[in-house]
């Protein structure tokens, strides 16, 4: 697991990375990457607690911005206030990564060859 203080160094996948949110810009970037990430993330709160889920929405431009996420074992979405977030960890598998066209073509060709 590697820490990134900000999201300026954009890796091919965020899987396994952690983003600290020690200023407003870093917090906003971390949340945007979490919203764009096609895997579960672990949200560490300033209280010391954490939640793990799939972040699908970020409501900003309002007095108390928040994110919405689905936790694996809950049917209704959960809400986390952005100001409560201390760190974002891209802990789940990045389901959109590592499936290059070459991989797909190879996979498609295998049944043809056998």
């Amino acid at each position: 697991m590697s820490d990134h203080e900000t999201s300026d160094n954009h890796p091919l996948s965020w899987e396994g990375k952690r983003l600290l949110t020690n200023n407003d810009a870093a917090l906003r970037k971390a949340i945007e990457h979490a919203r764009d990430y096609r895997g579960d993330v672990t949200i560490y709160l300033k209280t010391g607690k954490h939640v793990i889920g799939y972040v699908f929405d970020h409501h900003e431009g309002i007095p108390n911005p928040y994110i919405k996420l689905f936790l694996a074992n809950q049917s209704e979405p959960s809400f986390v206030m952005c100001q409560d977030i201390a760190k974002v960890e891209f802990s789940g598998e990045d389901t959109a990564f590592g499936r290059s066209w070459d991989d797909w073509a190879q996979k498609w060709q295998k049944p043809q060859a056998s």
Binding site: R38, G39, D40, Y54, F56, D57, H58, H59, K68, F70, A72, N73, S75, G92, E93, T95, A96, R99, S100, W101, D103, W104, K107, W108, P111, Q112
Partner: protein
Amino acid sequence: MAVPISQMYTVSQYALSNHIRGIKRYPLVLMLEPLFRCNLECAGCGKIQYPDHILNRRLSPEQCWTAADECGAPIVSIPGGEPLIHPEMPAIVEGLVNRKKYVYLCTNAILLERKIQDYTPSKYLTFSIHMDGLKEEHDHAVCRDGVYDVAVKAIRAALAKGFRVTTNTTLFDDAEPLRVRRFFDEMMELGVEGMMISPGYSYDKAPDQQSFLKRDRTRSLFSQLLTQRKRTWQFNQSPLFLEFLMGKRNYECTPWGNPTYNIFGWQRPCYLLQEGYVSTFRELMEGTEWERYGTGRHDQCRDCMVHCGYEASAVKDTFGSWGGFFGTVRATLFPNAV
């Protein structure tokens, strides 16, 4: 005539009444995504890359009907994911048909023969079968050998039972015009009511990023496909949209024309971009900064010419101006006129 008169009448009446009442933004097709789980992993699809607990979520029939009522669009398209995986899909469809919505159930047809007895033929229900070309191209696009043959068999079975059947085809950069034209022949010979075609959209989550069409290439490809088209070919879409794809017309995107509702809520701003979600259709229509989207206004809209943004523009043109109306009549009766 690819689209039945009753459907044309319903859509015309709906569009005209909105136009006459001066309603600037109204939806035409609700894109209802009751699940993201699919039984294929197509290379051009950016819809299904989610963790398992997201793929296992489903919209309930009540949620689907509420969305259709809220939205009010006369047509409901059900993509996904693969809708036939949803155990309550027959109930969802029945509820929509009871509301007199024209339902396009978009399926790869792998499960169609097994599930078809759960559905009742109706003028309101169309199975829209995903077919991306002749056997070789289709199996390649869906990354699984044999799917084309399964789909053809399912199309025959659905037609034999009296269902409306159309095809939906996404074309990528490697499309060969002559083979696509042969594909049109094959589909019409099968007896489908009509075909729907669209260029692919470059989802940033899709595995194949190299094969998406740029605008000039899109116009060139669709010109080659649709110039001197055969009288037997029927397209289940706006003739002006086809002219737009051929580069004969210019339209601005109408992102609110095909609003999308799925397990996350109403998706902002359109079927292809995921910039956020709201709880109600009203919030979507009134709270979205629509002027931010479209070619030249948003980076991810740059090369998009996809039906979910531009077919509604074409339909609005038909009912919003005499030029559009007569253009539609001409393009319908004389599709090969220059």
